[in-house]
Symmetry: C2
Subunit: 339 residues, 2 copies
């Protein structure tokens, strides 16, 4: 196996977020389930946008957010995902490459527009997402650059890719290529409803095909159809190399073989917007792994990155994460707990 020339290649939906504040009554009126992601068509996207308050636009996409985080930490990353050759596609491409992430997937020149996710942020800081997949449905196996996947130490796959059928084929191709090259494959379960839609496929994958699994409490519970986190954690233990299970303010739990590492959440003054919390946790965790740090340190860096992202609107880091990590280490505060 050759030395990996990049750290992580992320494969996911290429999405621009449209973020507005909303109250709980709005969610109820529009029958939205707080904290989850709904898939919507173009017509519903149009209607919902009209009902939403003033918004800001910011590049998003779960794994794309993670890749932005990896780059902000100093890691070498690339992204594979599909935009259309339109204004939002250009915005997505600019923001990712300006962050230092390589992004070469050709934009679609026909078909639906670049994907957008209408995000409602409630006063409690929770985000509720409504994704119009648009051009993401055009991502297919041909977009998977095998050389790129072989060159990456870790290939990180977005669970949401199971929604567009062609993308699911791209996902399977990438995983096969990575493993054939002796690389690691990481997976995010993305969303409890996404897990529900593809439960059997995810269970098959998780059973022996995934090296690093990211899931939050709702997702891992959905995968094993239980309301009990401990039971869900017990079910996944041993099936994957490492499972990093996040629990919002309660921090995370890392399972690896028989070991179990509870990780505290990093302190945050006020949760402004939970968008990207899981994505940036994954960024910190993967960055730690790449640098060969012990698992508790990986989790602690993940917590720190998640704390940055939830302290402002949007799912991309506003501050340079490498500086945050260095400052936390120098200050000798909570990072030391795990050193």
């Amino acid at each position: 196996m050759n030395q990996a020339s990049i750290d992580v290649v992320g494969i996911g939906n290429a999405i621009v977020d449209v973020i507005a504040r909303a109250d709980d009554a709005f969610l109820e009126r529009e029958r939205l389930v707080k904290g989850t992601t709904a898939l919507i068509d173009a017509e519903r996207a149009e209607a919902l946008y009209c009902l939403m308050g003033p918004a800001i636009e910011a590049s998003g996409g779960s794994i794309a957010n993670t890749m932005a985080g990896v780059a902000s930490l100093g890691g070498r990353g690339a992204f594979i995902g599909k935009v259309r050759d339109d204004v939002l596609g250009k915005v997505f491409c600019h923001d990712l490459t300006a962050q230092g992430v390589s992004f070469e997937t050709p934009a679609a020149t026909a078909g639906p527009p670049t994907a957008r996710c209408l995000i409602l942020v409630t006063p409690d800081g929770q985000r509720t997402m409504n994704t119009y997949l648009g051009a993401c449905a055009e991502l297919g196996p041909d977009d998977i650059d095998s050389d790129l996947v072989c060159a990456a130490q870790i290939t990180y796959l977005e669970g949401y890719l199971f929604d567009p059928p062609l993308a699911q084929q791209a996902f399977r191709k990438a995983a096969a290529v990575a493993h054939a090259a002796g690389r690691k494959v990481a997976l995010s379960l993305s969303d409890p409803f996404c897990v529900e839609r593809h439960r059997e496929a995810f269970r098959d994958l998780v059973t022996g095909h995934i090296d690093i699994l990211f899931a939050n409490e709702a997702e891992i519970c959905s995968l094993y159809e239980t309301g009990d986190f401990t039971a869900a954690a017990a079910a996944v233990r041993g099936l994957v190399g490492i499972a990093a299970l996040t629990r919002s303010a309660e921090g995370s739990v890392i399972l690896a073989g028989r070991a179990e590492h509870p990780i505290a959440a990093a302190p945050v003054a006020r949760v402004v917007d939970a968008t990207g919390a899981g994505d940036l946790y994954a960024a910190g965790f993967l960055y730690g792994l790449i640098r060969g740090l012990p698992l508790p340190n990986c989790g602690a860096i993940g917590s720190l990155c998640a704390a940055e992202i939830i302290s402002h609107l949007g799912g991309r880091p506003e501050r340079k994460l490498s500086e945050l990590v260095a400052a936390a280490r120098d200050a000798g505060d909570w990072l030391r707990l795990y050193c």
Copy 2:
């Protein structure tokens, strides 16, 4: 004169902001003058965007920001400005109307795209703006709805409108219609370089044709070609009904006849982004005037609104300003000083 059915109609450039962080070295390299606005063409906009870091998109435009603020305070407002029928035009229209501002100017169906302003925010919170006017250059006298102007207690004009020649005609028509209907006309000087470009025209206007003038220190000094704020303030005194002159952290000074009211800046924990500070000061001030409050109260509400806007990225309020004002009044803190 009939009762005004709306409070303020704002006429200005319809712009979507593209906001990125940058360091001072970037400004120097690109020969940008911190805190000012440069006009750029499509080619330069493209080149500068490529050089900028990851960005967010948010509706902007000086007077449009003010109108969003007036609506957030509970005032009845309308906006006249020109977008193209493209994605950014739709974003601009959505954000303004979702805020409660009436916006009926027809979008251009041909010609240049919706205007954008590339904003670099330095670590000190200062913003440096680069505006590609695009469709704004299409705003003309025919877009001025005379009935709307007659129905508004105050017509608020953006100094930047002097840059596109047709818009300047629209500006003059609106001012004439408003005064003929016995309404008040307010003007923002917008930017010191804008004043420099149109100094004679602005001096003519300010001499007897403007009821309420907004300017910051650099702008009023540019208008009277002096480096001394006191001299500039003395020069404008008596030429306009009211002059509200802002001085960043040093607050503002309101001149009206022989009276002079110094107003403190409202406290703010950290200046994240100065974008919109003057615009939102104007929103608070105009809202106070409409409600018939004494001038020092108008200034204090302006300061409060400015403090909200500089505490986050972008020039549109994130919190409901009417609630902020109510809270400050109830808390009996600094607002009371002026009551």
